[in-house]
């Protein structure tokens, strides 16, 4: 390993600009003549729009335009789309209600877009927005997940009169029923996976620009996948053909899934730029972000686990209602289906699994992928079942898990996934040792002496990452392929530019991707530039989500580097007067086998461009190669997280005092960055378990639409984590890497809740387990203990 190669904790190349305030985020972009947009949003969860009167707003000095759904319709701007087709049990396609970028006749959630005011300044636009008079007829709201599809519930979209987007299933019902019929013990759980708001610290923003001379558009936007944004804005929404639409996602301040999607505001900014013949800028404020960024999770689940007399799992049965909100967001339909149920086998040998998922409409903000996307929900179901089952049959939760682990690979689960490799007992053993699991009894007794309740909780998670291969996801309904592209441009002086379709919004690609190139070509990382986030520079790409940039994005770079090396060997062969077959490439030098003749990489690059030493008809000059990489399988990161905590039964306040994580991500490119990803994921997972929850009242009003009402984890709420890894290299990509971006958020919630229930004498607690919730549960636990 070199100091900057694969496996080194290289300090990040991008950090100088971030620590000096020189990052360039979308809101930092200002175009000459720029106007500002303010969105008039629905204050009602469900209403018909009778009339929009913009007369007074238009009289305001500095207002350029007030545009509504009628203008969208007149310009034939297409609706926002959902790009993943899901079919119901009867084979019928999901029921997708129309999703215009500005409401047409009806609003369906608080925050729905009714009109846009465009003015010289944001303050003028906002002031004028207050003068847009909208006459609504308020309708009853449908805001509760569990009852959304019950008879008599208010209908959100006429195309789905029962509010069912789909009723979907996965697995073998008969085989699963048979497994339950012969079970010795059945564990049953009712689970609510709380609705979350992603909350990247940078709010969404957009600047739309129209070049009259070239009849072309540019959209600067906070996107995790600018190419997919361009594709959708072009092919479906119809803003402009792709070659007339440039999408630039500059520095992006976190995404966590919420910036994958193509939203109304970005669409309106780019469309309106041509209408007002001025660049149009919009930046979300935080409450707008709470109302309009796609939310995450929100499942109501009944789950059952069947065991034989020896504690072996026979079957798993799940019925989930998934709230998809008022409209189908870009990838929403896939999240509670193919990103969820195929992970219900966990790390375990489960012969029969059957899952039913009802996707339902409600008058709430659309729900889509949020860090983990379906996999945290699946892991929560599996790991809560494992914990509760172990306690019900009087087994140690660690031993019970170990007994049921998958140990042979490849392992075909009954729910699509074929696990390609792993060593689950190894991660468990290491985690138990690091957590000093063996002496938990002693620590519990010490806490009890202080009047505190101590608990320990295990979560053995698995996830499917590197979302791909294209043919596989296509067969499951995806509207796009999920490969990745890379282009390697070697300059005549030997510096290298990597153009990638992945997008970095905190993951550190400018460093890790450069490490790969440095390792491979033997050049300094300072001589490598990573170019991403601009559809005019990078030809096509699928973006960053699902922990796919390493496993898929870097693999594409490997493939292009293979071609670079092959071509460079031919050039070196001509220079060194040897056959390319006799040329070796090592440590940045090309040499002729068995001789001391050698030439360095930069010199070969120069020779490739000056083309003096070879015949340009036989060997093309230049040194630039590209590749599209489509993997052979998903990757399967897995690991064990252990949470240990203390609850004060007098106050319900909980203190997590030890967190142990042992993750198997395969090979690591930059361990420092991997650890950082795990830290952040755990924090979001603890947030879900203890603090965060989006709450709607029965009228569909979001009660948690600011940081004063929605509790984000703060530094004082959290702790420093003990992180370790195991490594079974991934067999499905050339680098042997699995992806690490979501693991913490997937693993953490059940670890926390399992620890809470352990502390509380097995009292179940809902998420978020607030002090009030825990105080009540602690009182029940204390009463129960006293009665015994």
């Amino acid at each position: 390993m070199t100091a900057t190669g694969i496996g080194a904790s290289v300090r990040r190349k991008e950090d100088f600009r971030f620590v000096t305030g020189k990052g360039r985020y979308t809101d930092d972009v200002n175009r000459p003549g720029q106007a500002h947009a303010y969105f008039v949003r629905s204050p009602h969860a469900h209403a018909t729009i009778n009339k929009i009167d913009a007369t007074e707003a238009l009289k305001t000095k500095g207002v350029l335009a007030v545009l509504t759904g009628d203008d969208i319709a007149a310009d034939k701007v297409g609706g926002l789309i959902c790009g993943w087709m899901i079919h119901s049990k009867d084979g019928s396609p999901m029921k997708a209600g129309a999703h215009p970028a500005l409401a047409q006749g009806k609003v369906r959630y608080v925050g729905d877009h009714v009109a846009v005011v465009i003015a010289e300044t944001y303050a003028i636009a906002r002031d004028a927005g207050e003068k847009v008079v909208v006459d609504y007829t308020v309708l009853p709201a449908n805001a509760d997940t569990a009852s959304a599809a019950k008879p008599g519930a208010p209908v959100v979209h006429d195309v789905a009169p029962d509010n069912m987007v789909y009723d979907w299933k996965l697995g073998d019902k008969d085989a699963t029923d048979a497994a339950f019929a012969k079970a010795k013990h059945v564990t049953k759980l009712e689970i609510v996976n709380n609705r979350l708001v992603p909350n990247p610290m940078e709010p969404r923003a957009a600047v739309g620009d129209y070049d009259e001379g070239n009849e072309s558009f540019t959209l600067y936007t906070t996107s995790q996948n600018p190419h997919v944004a361009r594709l959708v804005l072009s092919a479906f929404i119809g803003i402009a053909p792709e070659h007339k639409l440039r999408v630039i996602a500059p520095d992006v301040g976190g995404g966590f899934g919420s910036k994958i999607f193509i939203y109304a505001e970005e669409t309106i900014c780019v469309w309106a730029a041509k209408k007002v013949r001025r660049p149009v800028k919009w930046t979300s404020d935080r409450t707008e972000a709470f109302l309009s960024d796609a939310h995450g999770r929100d499942h109501v689940t009944h789950a059952e686990l069947a065991l034989d007399e020896a504690g072996k799992i026979l079957g798993l049965r799940v019925k989930t209602i998934a709230n998809l909100g008022a409209y189908l967001s870009t990838f929403s339909s896939s999240v509670p289906t193919y990103l969820y149920a195929p992970l219900l086998s966990g790390q375990y040998n489960i012969p029969a699994i059957y899952a039913e998922v009802d996707g339902v409409y409600t008058n709430t903000t659309p729900v889509d992928a949020y860090r983990g996307a379906g996999r945290p929900e699946a892991t929560f179901v599996v790991e809560r079942l494992m914990e509760v089952a172990a306690r019900e049959i009087g087994r140690d939760p660690a031993d019970f898990r170990r007994q049921n682990f998958v140990t042979q690979f490849p392992h075909q689960t009954p729910v699509i996934m074929c696990y390609d490799g792993g060593d689950y007992p190894k991660s468990l053993d290491k985690a138990l040792e690091l957590a000093d699991y063996a002496s938990i009894g002693k620590r519990k007794a010490e806490s009890a002496r202080k009047g505190l309740l101590r608990g320990i909780g295990i979560s053995a998670y698995i996830e499917a990452c590197g979302i791909a291969p294209s043919a596989a996801v296509g067969s499951l309904g995806a509207g796009v392929g999920l490969w990745e592209s890379a282009e390697v441009r070697v300059n005549p002086v030997g510096t290298v530019e990597i153009l990638t379709g992945s997008h970095s919004h905190g993951q550190g690609h400018e460093t890790t991707f450069a490490q790969l190139v440095s390792d491979r070509l033997g050049i300094s990382i300072d001589n490598v530039a990573i170019v991403h986030g601009d559809t005019d520079k990078v030809q096509m790409g699928m973006g960053t989500y699902g922990s796919r940039s390493g496993a898929v994005g870097m693999s594409a770079i490997v493939k292009a580097l293979d071609k670079i090396e092959a071509k460079a060997k031919k050039v070196a062969g001509h220079v060194l007067e040897a056959s390319p077959d006799d040329i070796e490439f090592k440590n940045g030098k090309f040499s002729v086998k068995g001789t001391d003749k050698e030439i360095d990489f930069a010199s070969v690059a120069l020779q490739a461009y000056i083309a003096h030493k070879f015949n340009g008809q036989e060997l093309e000059p230049g040194l630039k190669e590209s590749a599209f990489y489509d993997p052979t399988n998903f990757t399967f990161p897995a690991g064990v997280h252990i949470c240990e905590l203390e609850i004060d039964p007098q106050t319900g306040v909980v203190a997590i005092d030890k967190w142990t994580a042992v993750d198997d991500f395969g090979n690591l490119i930059n361990p420092m960055i991997v650890e950082g990803q795990v830290h952040g994921g755990i924090a979001q997972g603890i947030g879900q378990a203890l603090f965060e929850g989006a709450v709607y009242n029965k009228d569909g009003q979001l009660l948690t639409a600011s940081y004063m009402d929605y509790q984000m984890p703060r530094a004082g709420d959290l702790l420093s984590y003990d992180i370790a890894v195991t490594n079974t290299p991934c067999p499905s990509n050339p680098l042997g890497i699995k992806g690490c971006g979501e693991a913490g958020a997937i693993a953490a919630p059940p670890a926390v809740v399992n620890a809470l229930t352990d502390a509380l004498g097995h009292e179940d607690v809902p998420m978020p387990a607030t002090p009030q919730t825990l105080w009540r549960a602690a009182q029940r636990a204390v009463t129960k203990a006293a009665a015994q």
């Binding site: 990040r12 950090d15 620590v19 305030g21 809101d27 976190g254 940081y707 703060r714 004082g716």
Partner: protein
């Protein structure tokens, strides 16, 4: 319109502004100092923290007009050319940032924390003092480490 003048990062600036202009808008839109960010506009997240007369304040809820005559330092004013302030260097060295959006506010808060509490900061103190700053990427683990190390480095640099 209201006339304001202040010192920003050592430079004297004056302008005629709409009286409702916030300090962060003055910095970002009038002076194009875009290192100071707006994450919540309600003084909850701390992405907008700058120093006004040495105190760390939230510029998203401060009227620029109230800073007339003040000495303002933003993230752009910390480094000396290419030489990072010790706290900036510590964030880079300890991987105390990922997306970088909260980072300017974190660093400005941390520098002022050292001024108030000294260069020897324990983990508990750092965590409590970060009460007004949110980060969604790092889980705070490396931010806490970075501030501890940065504080020590500031002490060493002052000796």
């Amino acid at each position: 319109m209201t006339a304001v003048s202040m010192t920003v990062n050592g430079q004297h600036v004056s302008a005629e502004i709409d009286p409702r202009t916030l300090l962060v808008q003055f910095l970002r839109e009038h002076l194009r100092l875009t290192g100071t960010h707006v994450g919540c506009d309600t003084s909850q997240c701390g992405c907008c923290v700058v120093h006004v007369n040495g105190d760390a304040i939230k510029s998203c809820t401060t009227l620029a007009a109230t800073c007339d005559g003040a000495d303002v330092v933003t993230i752009e004013g910390l480094a000396k050319g290419d030489v990072l302030h010790p706290m900036q260097a510590a964030f880079r060295e300890n991987h105390g940032l990922q997306c970088g959006f909260c980072t300017p506010g974190m660093i400005m808060t941390a520098v002022e924390l050292v001024r108030r509490k000294g260069t020897d900061l324990d983990e508990h103190t750092i965590r409590e003092e970060l009460e007004g700053n949110l980060c969604r990427c790092t889980g705070y683990h490396n931010i806490v480490k970075a501030i501890g190390a940065g504080a020590q480095a500031m002490g060493a640099a002052a000796e």
